[in-house]
Symmetry: C2
Subunit: 694 residues, 2 copies
């Protein structure tokens, strides 16, 4: 279906006009320049009979033949009528360029829902509104109102911002970046990135899918599609609106509501999309990924100037890519070549000519431990760049080579030649390394076993009524002591416990549990129980009754509402390391699971990891391993390793709980005490909030 956007047999330009400088005029001109001469093009505008020498129809309904694609540039208020006509005419693919919808305020939003309704009724594939249009460089279709058409290439570019797409298209021509297809998504009223990602995955002219996004509304679908697509084709994405200020700005723009940055990051990680944080990165990564798909082994540097070689080595070390360690044969050959350094980086020195440089490249590329080569060349007197370029082109079949030919005019011709072979030259060695990092990230995520989410057998129904909302109007409710039952039902270990309403009950419970115990107030009015003296730890048998009354006394002093439900008597769990598992619900992505080490690590260092549920076992393991404090769990200074498996288990069970009960808006298991390997963990306390999903 989407193919008609890129390869239509007939196009109607609704809102075409002979008036120079108007969108409807530029648009028609661009479409008329379509390379495929067999394509029929119709202008539509009731005011004219003929525009730019082609016949003009009052509406699409009057066009005699069938039409595949309508591109609409009429005032917003007239778009619904035009859409209906498209529907009646049987046109299924429509690009609405017109602005004045959700991005323009409340009235526009109403108009936009009208578009959605009509599209649904007639089964329209609608791009936009408020977009720049669509380009297919390979067929020569430019259905945009931009002044320039990009050059052909193998990068498909999806942009949620039309103005940004304009800028990129204009810049790309001078930067020598070519595109296969460009889609300006606009307000994404009907079609969003997901459908196009699926389409482009199968597009032979597209090697990399590159996106600029401001929001992702179908989070789960996005993850599923991208995870599938990245198995065969890299997806590079820049997402704006990450900080609070940025998100605020994004929400006033294109009418989008940005979700939480943690959810996006997690979605990209889980789906294998490569995230870029600047325009430089976005295209550096895409260009390199369009050619190089994996790096297995260390990185070698061959240079004729020490300085930039050192910069590259620094950047490789800092990025964790790893410098190649040459084997003995390589080093011997390099020594025979008389280079300054036959370890990595290889410095052929400033007096080397292109042949010596090429020989070094050849020797290094034959080394099995080398995964990719960064070839750095300064414009010294003996260097002929063209000749050096020959070596790069010749050897890049053996090993991926990233050229860092440094200079301006001196390198221009060679850079141009590289381009023709799809090779990007970098002036800055650091940018070359960053691009290689993106490749490594891509290949690692692609090679990762894609395990299905993990499910346990759980008696859901046993706790259903504890969680279900009491009535429709109920906004938010905190789970009381009964939450331990929820955790137990889901197989999450909790200390033995019971709720006592009298001192005698307390003693009875404590006797059953065994000493020492902990005692905590149970009251929806008291959140910070410890702060008001309503938690007693390490209570011995002879103290139970006294403590019971003391806690009650303090609680009554503190809360006026007096919603005191009793006192929790809990098995005292001593020792262990404290971790936190949390869940909050992102409006676009669903349950977002958090993991971190307790207390100060989360609070001061923000050392936490996130993934979107449902989690696979691999997701859970990754979550734990990716916090810096993981070293503490592994055991430092000879301490035993903590029971990581038991934490993986808890993460998976919390994931499942969050999927089973959408009524749970937030959950925090804090602290979870984890013991050494084989000795498990216990969720000591929790917070759980139920409510209606927005």
């Amino acid at each position: 279906m989407l193919d008609h956007f890129f390869n239509p047999e007939s196009i109607a330009v609704v809102g075409a006009t002979p008036r120079e400088g108007k969108i409807g005029n530029t648009l028609l001109k661009n479409i008329l320049s379509f390379r495929e001469q067999s394509v029929r093009i119709y202008a539509v505008n009731p005011k004219y009979d003929k525009i730019l020498n082609i016949r003009c129809y009052p509406s699409v309904l009057q066009i005699e033949e069938g039409v595949n694609l309508a591109v609409v540039a009429v005032p917003a208020i007239r778009v619904p009528e035009v859409l209906k006509q498209c529907g009646l005419k049987g046109i299924k693919n429509v690009v609405v360029i017109s602005a004045g919808f959700k991005e323009a305020g409340r009235e526009g939003a109403v108009l936009e829902s009208e578009l959605i309704r009509i599209s649904e009724k007639y089964g329209l594939c609608l791009v936009g509104p408020n977009c720049l249009g669509i380009i297919n460089t390979h067929s020569g279709l430019n259905a945009t109102f931009g002044k320039s058409t990009p050059t052909e290439g193998n990068i498909a570019f999806l942009s949620q911002s039309g103005a940004f797409a304009l800028a990129v298209i204009d810049w790309a021509k001078v930067a020598n970046v070519g595109f296969s297809k460009v889609v300006s998504l606009g307000n994404k009223a009907v079609l969003d990135e997901c459908g196009f990602i699926e389409y482009l995955a199968k597009d032979n002219e597209t090697a990399v899918i590159t996106m600029y996004l401001e929001d992702i509304r179908e989070g789960r679908r996005f993850i599923d599609i991208v995870r599938h697509v990245t198995r065969t084709k890299p997806v590079v994405v820049m997402k704006s609106g990450k900080t609070e200020a940025g998100a605020k700005a994004a929400s006033s723009h294109t009418g989008s509501i940005a979700g939480s940055v943690e959810a996006f990051r997690a979605a990209f990680q889980q789906s294998g999309a490569i995230e870029a944080n600047s325009i430089n990165d976005l295209f550096d990564f895409s260009l390199t990924l369009s050619r190089i798909r994996h790096v297995t082994g260390g990185i070698a540097i061959v240079t004729n100037s020490g300085g930039p070689g050192v910069m590259a080595a620094d950047a490789i070390e800092e990025s964790g890519l790893g410098l190649a360690a040459f084997d003995r044969e390589t080093m011997e050959k390099l020594r025979d070549l008389h280079v300054a350094n036959f370890y990595n980086p290889v410095d052929v020195m400033g007096d080397a000519d292109s042949d010596k440089f090429g020989s070094a490249l050849g020797i290094v590329s034959a080394d099995e431990s080398v995964g990719a080569i960064i070839a750095i060349l300064s414009p010294t007197a003996p260097i002929e760049f063209d000749k050096a370029g020959d070596y790069v082109l010749e050897l890049t079949g053996t090993k991926p080579i990233i050229p860092v030919f440094m200079g301006g005019d001196e390198i221009a011709k060679t850079v141009e030649r590289f381009k023709k072979h799809g090779i990007t030259n970098y002036f800055d060695p650091v940018r070359a390394v960053r691009a290689l990092c993106a490749v490594k990230k891509y290949s690692e995520s692609r090679d990762k076993v894609s395990a299905p989410p993990y499910y346990f057998k759980v008696d859901r129904n046993a706790i259903k009524e504890l969680i279900e909302l009491r009535d429709r109007k109920e906004v938010k409710r905190s789970m009381g002591v009964e939450g331990f039952k929820v955790l137990e039902t889901y197989g999450i270990p909790v200390p033995s416990y019971g709720k006592a309403e009298t001192a005698a009950e307390a003693l009875e419970l404590a006797d059953m549990i065994g000493y020492p115990v902990s005692m905590k107030i149970v009251s929806p009015d008291i959140v910070h129980k410890t702060d008001v003296g309503c938690v007693k730890l390490n209570v011995r048998r002879e103290e139970v009754k006294e403590m019971f009354f003391e806690i009650l006394h303090r609680a009554e002093k503190y809360t006026s509402a007096r919603r005191i439900e009793g006192i929790l008597i809990q098995q005292m769990i001593e020792g262990g390391k404290e971790v936190i598992v949390g869940m909050k619900r992102d409006m676009h992505f669903g349950p977002l699971i958090m993991f971190g080490l307790g207390g100060i690590y989360v609070e001061v260092f923000k050392d936490v990891s996130f993934r979107i549920a449902p989690l696979s076992k691999e997701d859970a393991i990754e979550m734990i391993k990716s916090v810096k404090a993981y070293r503490i769990l592994k055991g430092i200074r000879g301490e035993p390793m903590s029971d990581i498996d038991s934490l993986v288990d808890v993460l998976l069970r919390v994931s499942q709980l969050s999927m089973d009960f959408p009524e749970i808006l937030e959950a925090d298991l804090n602290p979870i005490k984890v013991f050494e390997h084989g000795k498990g963990c216990y969720a000591i306390d929790f917070k759980m909030i139920m409510g209606a999903i927005r």
Copy 2:
């Protein structure tokens, strides 16, 4: 003196040759193209009478007139002789381009020390050897063997790598970057960056001093000079060889030995030099700093396309620069202008023309809370970039404006115009924000009160013999219990203590100190005292004797050397938070002081800060505030604030100790227990290593 390198009245080119493609030929040609016609130029080469139509002398001694500058490009082995002749002739400024010195191995290093000796004897200012040469674009002097001369500009560029300088010069021409002066420092045998920084600070044609360095050998001098220079002129530096791999590579290149990265970072911070980590950053920062010297107030964004506006907002938030909050008047004016968002970022929308964009710029630039403006423009149909450029040029007098005009051909003319006014356009909003960050960093460091190092009155002599090396051959020695006396003498609070050799002595001491006490083995053979059971905490009176024997027993079991000196009885300090103060000696910068929170924070999060001694009070305060865990010291969750003042005091005293006694190679005060404000801190334990300085 250095001025003759840039503005000589007469130049001798030693090693000039008529043979095309040779360094001595290109060099002479470049120098002959000198714009200042009054300058006398002499070729020197015993093989020729005339080269390129000028007279050629067998040696500088035969030149009849006086010579200011000699540029030497003869084989390395002949350089000493040439230098002697320069000395005899009275030439004080010499650039040695020839390679084959320290960078080429041991023989070269011997030759290089010969150059140093001759330079000292004749009082020569020598640049190089193994360098590209020197350029002064303003006088037209190109004393290099490069193929191209850079365009004029106000950035002075010092490079330790000649090949890198070549690349930058060639690149700069296409990137529209202009230079005032370029110096290739080479092996820095005699002159290094320091002298040139001082010279360039006073150079009216230089607005920013930009450097690429691989090592800094006179660390203290570097800090002092740069700190002084940055008061009036920004210094931007890229230092390679930061990681272990990079440092290893750097040390094989130019024969430099890289110091520790922490020392460099600290030196840049303390001196106000702006550090760049890539070539992009190096010149982005320099170009923007050449025009904008301070940002006071928040950053405003004005854009015609939401997407890039959001990107800029994100980058500003993440960098900590801070978005401007407009005052009411501004917002009212913006509302009257009908913009999509009259908060910051201001989105004039895609249908805005250049005038509307200009009006928004005008309104925002009049707002007092705005410190600088990022002006983002996508190539939409209504925008005329030239006109928009007028507004930027007009208003940039009111408030610094960074243009982010996005596109290729469409913006080329305007970008060119900006260049003429010294304004850099960025394609990537994120790079514009990074450059503004550098400006903010510069202005903050410039405005910082430059306090002198803090000194306490201390009876140095009282501990002199404890620290002094026992004999010349002594390599390394650990300080024993007597180290507490060193700390006490320097006014660093330590718990009461004493060393007991018998159980009776132990009891006597403990009685004096008061209970409970801690007891620790004193033995140079036992480093990890706790691990082998040789530390007992919270010892009560009745346990002292028993513990004394137990510790002894365990120690004797552990150490075969039996160098047991006794048992340390120490006042037991309970509670408090643990911090570490450390000192190690960097070979180029001297004592490097470290601060961090104890244990896991240092080990897992590497959350530490460094400064080079001697510290000022401000340095010490900054050190404490710049660790992330500072929040823990400030007190989280209602805890009282720790006694920061007492830690500042310890840092200053350790700084002074390290300056007073170069014999102390390393010191660690770990842990230091700090209590709440007003209650001070105690150094509980320490490690101190004395030795001969390398």
